[in-house]
Amino acid sequence: MQDHDPLKDEPKEKVDDNSGVSRRDFLKISTISAAAVPILGTKVVQAAGEPVKVYGPGKVPVELTINGQKHTLQLEPRVTLLDALRDQLDITGAKRVCDRAECGTCTVLLDNRAVYACSVLAIEAQGKAITTVESLMQGDILHPIQQAFVDNDASQCGFCTPGFVLAFKAFLDEHPNASPEEIRRGLSGNLCRCGTYHGIQLAIAQIAQKGA
């Protein structure tokens, strides 16, 4: 998961008065000062002199920018980004498998960095550019990474494939000259049960040679 300032990217709109606090902010608050633990009914609490927004516990408006499109949803603050994508918006390329950041199958990009969508709350993803696997294909043209997966038969049941493709893209965007060995390590947060790793290794070699 990426390191970022949780305050910097907070959404601008008002939040529900009957509110709780986001998980990340809660962690931040509780590590700063016990006295700053939020009280229900406030919409902003002070944490070490900084304002922290508070959500819920009922449904709150959440605005997500997914593949360049804005979506406004009413969600409980406990809803993960993954569940918001899949169950609210029918964007199902990211899969739910372990639901606890162990397998990489739910990988999406937040401001171009790969994250496990099962372990990001939807409210935390506000104000960030969310990229899902659905955006990679341009018309009928597959992204070169996707094409490399096709060419090298790197999917069988295909359930893990979107996660691999996106993790691959994020890693390459950040490390454009990575060696196959480095890419392999970069993708080691993703798991496959059918055992398509040989095909993925060939896809890695193809991309490392030809570029994406």
Binding site: E76, R78, V79, D83, R86, D87, D90, T92, G93, A94, K95, R96, V97, C98, D99, R100, E102, C103, T105, T132, V133, E134, L136, M137, L142, Q146, F149, V150, D151, D153, A154, S155, Q156, C157, G158, F159, C160, T161, P162, V165, R184, R185, L187, S188, N190, L191, C192, R193, C194, G195, T196, Y197, H198, G199, I200, Q201
Partner: protein, 791 residues
Amino acid sequence: MPDYNWPDADHRTLIGKRISRVDSPVKVSGRAKYTYDYHGANMLFGKVLRSPHAKAKIVSIDTSAAEKLPGVKAVEIIQKAGSTAQWAGDEIVAVAAVDEATAEDAARLIKVNYQPMSYLVSDAEPPAGAGEAAGPMSEDEIDDAISNQMPDAQLTQYLQEHGVSFKVDDDFLKDMKGEGASDAVLAAIRQAPYHEVKGGGHSNYQKTATQTSGDPEKAFVEADVVSEGLYGAPVIVHCCLEPHGSVSEWIDKDHLFTHISTQNVSGIAAQMAEPLGVSAANIRIHQDNIGGGFGSKFAADRWDIAAARLSRKAGGRPVRIMLERDAELKVAGARPSAYARVKVAAKKDGTITGWQSQSWGTGGPGGGGMPPIPYVFGIPNQHKEHTAIRNNIGPARAWRAPNHPQAAVITMGALDDLAAKLNMDPLDLWLKNLEITGPRRDVYREELGVAADSMGWKKKWRPRGQNVSGNIARGLGLSIHTWGGRGHASDCDLTIHPDGSVDIKMGTQDIGTGTRTTIVIVAAETLGIPIEAINLYIGDTLYPPSGGSGGSTTPGGVSSSTRRAAVDAREALFAKVAPALNAKPEDLECVNSTVRVKNDPSRSLDWKQACSKIGAMPLTIRGKNPDKSKPPDLTNSGVGGVGMADVEVDIETGIVRVKKMVAVQDCGLIIDLKMAESSCYGALAMGISYALFEEKVMDQATGRMLNPNMEFYRLAGLNDIPELVVHMMTGKGYDERGVIGLGEPPVISPGAAIANAVANAIGARVSFLPLTPDKVLAALSQQNMAHKAGA
């Protein structure tokens, strides 16, 4: 009669080539829809409350608080008060609510009063004297014996001596025939005496038949060398990435529509009909894609029935129950364990003369059967005893190549130890004894040669423990395997439309094995048109039935029915087109999207023009498999394969790393070489997981699975995968056998080959998979102590 035979090598333009699977683009782009992705209008979310106890009487259930929770739409008791939960995770109550969190909240509000009972979750070696003696066979035991490929002679003899514990009826015989029972076995079941089983509860230990052949006592007395050892593999789970589950909705009060993650599209409705009190004809089953099954997704499970019942209670609204990850690993299937104390007798020259084994293992509440040991090698003079442990770890299900990987670990391990004792290269021992491997012996010989070359075996191999540099020990291991195959029942509707478009409808499924691609390659090859010209519809009971994808029977089944349909359609088209080309139908051929006169290509019509001669109505042909009226049999049974492993073991940390693996495999006529190789590559990766990481770890104190997640139930990742080499046997001697499936065979040997490579590296046998550092270090220290004691 039309010629249904597979085209020979000179007339194949698609079959056997390397073709990218047709559904890859939709999968890599995230557009492929799986059952878990289906979201019906007004869908409700189902959750299942599960037993926290490994075994407990359900005393009372109070669902009133859950029912009152706002957002809860239906509650369904799965196991009533008075029943007994048989494993931790057993289903008790299901709820459906407007969102998942509410359903979870509701499940937590249900009060179940349990009376915990004593349980067993261990599969350790049964205490001496434990276990019931052999008795009459139950339905499950016969089923087990047949799926374990117990030799006919043994099974029929057992049935004659011990009888059966139930009334045999025609349905049961039909089922067993479907499982592959021979006529001799079916007759033995029909004639077996009925013996009532007296008394109530069963012991946890069930001794299965003691099996003796030849004169094992004499063989061991006369042996030059006797090798003894302990071998085995634990229970592992399927860990399908898409969990088990379904979404059910009632279209009206008599019609159900179910999306389900299944390997068995055409077989699900019949399983749901009775518990739901509706005819199978009124149940529609649908699945576009499945995120892994590996043998565990043939059934309509209890949670599927519950989802349909919840939907009915909620006025027909769709109800989704997909298992959470922990439930998936706890209850949705497992590969049984198998362990054995083995003695092997041999002559000095390496000729194997005798086998003795005491084996045990568990497949959960049903106990499970004996793996087919000794595996592949038909050793003369055998004595075998097996004890099945019935325990409370949750049920077993078919797992790619049921019972064979365990049999390979035990048998190939025992023979590898024998080779070490004889100071022989195991490759030489295997070659020396190929005569007793049966009809595939020459295939094994050829395959062992190819594999040894790919591995560089002769150059790399050193006797045990003699390839150590610093703290790194290097070693090689090998294993061979076999599987049946043949083709399941499959109906295929192929339609040629007057505008030249072609569609195929079949109630099969593509479980990631390339079934879609197989079907369109066969049809395109037969009709002489590109694969892109064929619209394929699968995964729905609206289409003609096709068998479940199990036992490597799908490629044989779907390719045969597609071939027959396409050949018949082609003949029908020729009859319509012949007058226009002023030729006889039998003089026509389909080549390069044209229909033309053989030997006179100038007289031709392009595909579209030709199809316009069909008339106003499309032409639909049903192809079937099997179909004795349209010979030949286009499939076959019986393949052999070889696995070899090269490993490195850090003798200070006990960490094993696989450096290279080789798989050599035959599977008759290959439809798509690229996909066939992928099946083997994938099987090698799975084998590495099996050998090094996987185990369903049960907690004796609580009776629960300790690692029901993907952090501690570890699967191999990219960094665990070394250089993999796959060689498919093709050409003369292979192609003419017909199409044989490849799902099971390549997954069998890797675990055994890696275990043997580790023994070769460190000079000691690690008895049980997975080969984790603690076990490797224990084997090393035991060996050191033995050396000191001997010195």
